[in-house]
Symmetry: C2
Subunit: 589 residues, 2 copies
């Protein structure tokens, strides 16, 4: 059968430029540290990276899905498709990995927010390969914050360029969501190094030859350490040991035992890693592993959240293209007697708009969180810095969970737009669903994110930071009383009312009825994301109007669609969230 070829990826640079404004680009560009960065520079960076993403990075996407990365048990080597190696090489050559590394350390000194856009384009173009970069960025972040001077000197530059790559080694068979169960053991040697032994699973890009060295960051337990997460420390275990002059020395005793056969992201090898008296170096304080790992993890959570809109954007482009070319039936609005492209059918329009507006909202949510992070990072100590840090902490679990839940829905809806053709692998649209399916799971399942939001983030200082955000939303919406936005604004405000009431209930329940809070956490997180998303979509429309951008009229209508489709129904979630654990009676012990 003739199957339409997958639509090439087109990086949405215009849309992203608008999203950056909504996220808070102006505030960032006012900082001295970014004096050398302006909108023109950003635009040209994005345009240039867009070409790489659309070209060589995207070229391996389907190949990786079909051919997978492969494992050779004899040598223990993992081979990625040749297209991956070429794209990776171009990424290293371009110095893209160092864009947000401080200028003082030889990087581009750009805001992380701009690097986040590169990451989005990368993930849209080739999700499997992009994970390699995500993990390297996480390792960089961990070493910047926790590494010794010597460790930074030895590893940072090579990680920043991508000549070397990084991994996160957390999970063990018995320790998934519950890291307290980790058993990998690190024993001190006399020379100050550590000997690590144990087996880690689900290690993304744990072994490969795209980079000349791999820097594993490994959570392990030391002898006589306290039980649970308090006894964990973070170790750096390079694939090849590094001499003092930076040259690669002997192969370390860490190797891949196998790779997994997965539903999606086939190009990304998911390894079982064996550490057999491997040489490691303590990163940060002894028994401070969780704190150091959270530096990587919070970073990674935003990066994984970003995969929601990244996959959804790609799926949307593909579904939109298909809908404009596939003709079936005559639309009621059609003026001709012939069949119409299915995009003229209202139900198809509804599906496409659900996809596109939730993608936009998720992008805004993540960019917003990253902008707060940049500000928290760059501002001097004080209440403003603290405010931004609290906003990052508050928004991170929502950005991860809500965005990937919506991204997964969008990927599935894209198949629905394709109809029967969507089930045929050669069209390439099924890959979006298979790839997206992991995003709601890894880096902390969305259930875990929701519990993090309800139990750790919301109750801080009696809910003060959540209230700050809600007040900001109210004030911002009060400014947007243009008639064209009034309907959307009233729907978002309605959902916000419910969110505020529910937040009070949740803070109370966390202390007095934790099972009730746990039973409501996931839907609370969804409500939270719907409200923030609705607000940001309105802010986007207002900003587009202010800037007299060509998409201003469309942005107004998109904000309204999002509010009708997501924020209106969200008001009904309050009753479900507060119904408590007693509704779970059929499965309660």
């Amino acid at each position: 059968m003739n199957v339409p070829a997958p639509t090439p990826y087109r990086a949405p640079v215009d849309e992203v430029m608008l999203a950056l404004e909504v996220a808070g680009l102006s505030e960032l560009l006012e900082l001295d540290v970014f004096a050398h960065v302006d909108r023109d520079a950003i635009r040209s960076v994005l345009d240039e990276f867009a070409r790489l993403a659309e070209g060589e990075i995207a070229s391996g996407d389907r190949v990786g899905d079909v051919a997978h990365s492969t494992f050779d048990p004899a040598s223990g080597e993992v081979s990625a498709p040749a297209e991956f190696a070429r794209a990776y090489e171009r990424y290293v050559e371009g110095g893209w990995g160092a864009l947000q590394i401080p200028s003082a350390l030889g990087g581009g000194g750009f805001p992380t927010l701009i690097a986040t856009v590169l990451q989005e384009f990368f993930a849209s173009a080739n999700l499997a390969l992009s994970l390699n970069i995500v993990l390297t960025l996480g390792a960089i972040e961990a070493l910047l914050q926790w590494g010794s001077d010597e460790q930074r000197a030895l590893y940072l530059t090579k990680l920043a360029t991508g000549e070397w790559s990084g991994t996160m080694n957390l999970t063990e068979a018995q320790a998934g969501s519950d890291l307290g169960e980790i058993r990998t053991l690190a024993t001190a040697r006399e020379d100050g190094t550590w000997s690590l032994s144990g087996t880690k699973i689900f290690i993304t890009w744990g072994e490969h030859t795209l980079s000349s060295n791999i820097v594993h960051l490994v959570l392990a337990r030391t002898p006589d350490a306290p039980p649970g997460t308090k006894g964990l420390s973070l170790f750096l275990v390079p694939k090849f040991l590094v001499a003092a002059n930076g040259e690669l020395a002997e192969r370390n005793a860490v190797r891949a035992l196998s790779i997994e056969h997965k539903l999606g992201i086939h190009g990304s090898p998911t390894c079982v890693m064996e550490f057999d008296h491997a040489t490691g170096f303590l990163v940060g304080p002894l028994h401070g592993g969780m704190k150091a790992m959270f530096t990587m993890m919070n970073n990674a959570r935003l990066a994984i959240g970003l995969e929601g809109p990244a996959v959804a954007e790609r799926a949307y482009q593909h579904a939109y293209e298909y809908a404009t070319t596939r003709t079936q039936g005559r639309a009621t609005s059609s003026s001709t007697a012939t069949n119409s492209p299915i995009i003229e059918h209202p139900d198809v329009q509804r599906m496409l708009l659900t996809m596109s507006t939730s993608t936009q909202a998720a992008r805004l949510l993540i960019y917003r969180a990253v902008a707060h992070k940049d500000l928290a990072h760059q501002l001097g100590d004080g209440p403003l810095r603290e405010h931004h840090q609290e906003m990052v902490d508050l928004l991170t679990p929502v950005a991860k969970a809500w965005s990937t839940d919506r991204g997964l829905e969008a990927a599935s809806t894209a198949i629905q737009v394709f109809g029967g053709m969507g089930f045929i692998e050669e069209t390439g649209i099924a890959q979006r669903l298979r790839d997206a399916r992991i995003t709601t799971i890894y880096e902390g399942t969305n259930g875990i994110q929701s519990i993090d939001l309800a139990f750790r983030k919301i109750p801080r200082q009696g809910g003060a930071h959540a209230r700050e955000l809600f007040d900001e939303i109210r004030q911002s919406l009060a400014k947007h009383d243009e008639p064209a936005l009034r309907h959307a604004t009233s729907l978002v405000l309605g959902a916000l009312d419910v969110l505020e009431t529910t937040t009070t209930w949740m803070i109370e329940a966390v202390t007095n009825a934790p099972d009730d809070a746990l039973a409501g956490a996931t839907l609370y997180q969804r409500l939270f994301g719907d409200v923030v998303g609705g607000w940001l979509m309105i802010a986007r429309a207002a900003r587009a109007a202010l800037l007299a951008r060509p998409e201003a009229a469309r942005a107004l209508d998109e904000a309204t669609f999002f509010a009708i489709e997501f924020c209106g129904p969200a008001t009904a979630l309050g009753a479900v969230i507060t119904s408590g654990a007693k509704r779970l009676a059929p499965l309660r012990p």
Copy 2:
């Protein structure tokens, strides 16, 4: 990595016996035609078939997913896994296909409702293979209603036993949802047969050797026929021509050109079929093809709707089992200091109950529709028969769309319960999502079903039949004012209020603002299903209490959970549905 083996399938016979009561088994068993059928006979039929489903039918499920059915271009032959052939043989030997064939025709004379249960077990055990049976049952239905005496004599018995199988040949590359575009041509020959030429795509089990002959039912256009669907006629095209004595004669000019590489149901070959002057026989009147095809299609729509709960049941059993064995973290309700099985965590309970209650509701919805069908079929002409036929017509699109939408969600949620392990193909849970993904598409996409509901079914006689159903729901709920059901009942009634208002709006919109109706149809269908599902879950709880069944207490709680989780939020859909096509502005021409 060690991966837990997939949980064996266990046919839910107890649950099904309760569901049959809710669907209307008593009314059926009062009919003379079913005088030889009683509950004991039904139970023993189900128990016996359960053993076959759990054993040989299920044994090919994973094999089929991994090995696929394969195509040999040289011979044009399609090979299914050996496990499929053995299971199919046992099905034929057992005479299971004839259970609901009238006794007068040599069948078991059971209600279709009971055959539907077999079909559910079959689909849970091995969805790919079960499709073969679904299509044969459709062909039987078409011949019973439209075949000539000679055609029935030649084909029916062999189809009923499964010695021969059937297919539906509708789709062509340019004719998917829009059958009016069909181009396959049927030209009359002097001997009264027809010569068919054309290419059909997406033909499920179009070629295989499980049965000794394949009876293709083919929609084709005759020369000089009117354009569009009015010019279509239905033809029977056997793979092997059949002599007057019933013996197989020469090979007909119909063959598979290729099979598709699909996201799921890998064991089911999806064929491109070429008819090259193949010999066909007209079934039903010339140009009466659509009507005859709808006989098969409505049948198939209920059968495909059933795949929703069938796949979801299997996914639920597997996820439930995993959740009881996988330990992570300590549940707040736990009395021990060690980690708890994840089923003790409220968010996991919520996921599992969402799956199990939507599965139960979908099963009840489909069984109810099939019971109406049985009654419509068996009752003499008159208002009662008409009532039941109207109910089948009304419920069929909801049963197809709502049940498969919920089944798809459940299959995806099952992966979420598994966490990272859900992404590993060897656990088998990812197959559920891949298989389920087609159910919302084939046999009329769920968008098409929703339009059928809104434009054809609801407006009949000014909405009289919808009102009949709503009145029945109200009267039924009024009977269930036990305190334990009061909360659930009030939630369902709240959603029913919205459904009634929305129905009035929809009937008006269909005539006066069809694009508004089209823009709301899918969510209207969801609201409709949530209400009917909520009602049937309450009826189930009440029936379980009345029969003093061991699961009575649980059924009460399940009805409440379903009402909270589905019917409460459904009330908010009214505003979205009635917001009309103007919200689609960003994509409107």
